[in-house]
Amino acid sequence: MIEDLELLSQTVCGDAGAFEVLVLRHRETVWRFARSLTRDEAAAEDALQETFLLAWRNAASFRGEGSALGWLLSIARHAVYQQHRGRAGEPERLESLAELGEAAGWGADPDPLDALVVKDEVERAVARLSLEERELLLLREVEGLSNEECAGLLGVGLPALKSRLHRARLRFVAHLRGERHGH
């Protein structure tokens, strides 16, 4: 199998066939990411098309830092945020970690998450997260990117990334508990 970086090099030289292989290899991940971020089929399709059109036009801008998939996801993320620009609501109040932990069941007795978590509950809990929390959990937990790759893609330092990740995880667990309790 030809490596992504080789395909990108060939794409820079105008090899459309190499680029098509790259599209086939990563279109599902980019689609899943865009669809989960936007929660809207049409918006996700716009972001998907935008991602690969820009990747084709700007392949030479890939600096080789990180993976080709990470680069594609950063383009997709930018496309989604462009769509959402100006649509942001009030910033959320930043709860203390203890408050978030308690919402997630820290100190609860007995904890209802001892039982097996079902897929539908997971999807509903993810859907309730903010855009920023959702994208981080998708990149880290679903697509399996490392903390370092996520930090590079989101343009934040590693300590900030870890802090955001922990808060997003706690919020997800809190929403999961909410699904169990029916609120």
């Binding site: 820290w106 903390n147 667990v173």
Partner: protein
């Protein structure tokens, strides 16, 4: 209500703060062992740590689904790209 017990030299609040790093194996070996010792002897944190781990693992499990009318979406992507690939 915040938990303020101290077990194995760590307060529960410190364990809560470091739980993700512990789960990811990002702590120093000494700190990793200290958090493990706390979790072993603190029933509240052990219960929460287990639930937290189960929840995060549920995100990672299995092949993620492809939502929506994905084949139609990919066909339209190919059509759109074909126009661009020809014109560059």
């Amino acid at each position: 209500m915040a938990i303020e017990r101290e077990v194995a030299g760590l307060r529960c609040g410190e364990v809560l703060t470091e739980l993700s790093d512990y789960l990811d194996g990002e702590l120093s070996p000494e700190r990793q062992a200290q958090v493990a010792a706390h979790l072993q002897d603190c029933d509240v944190c052990e219960r929460f740590g287990s639930a937290f781990t189960i929840a995060i693992q549920s995100l990672r499990q299995g092949e993620p689904s492809l939502p929506g009318q994905v084949q139609t979406v990919f066909e339209r992507l190919q059509v759109r790209l074909a126009r661009s690939l020809d014109s560059r």
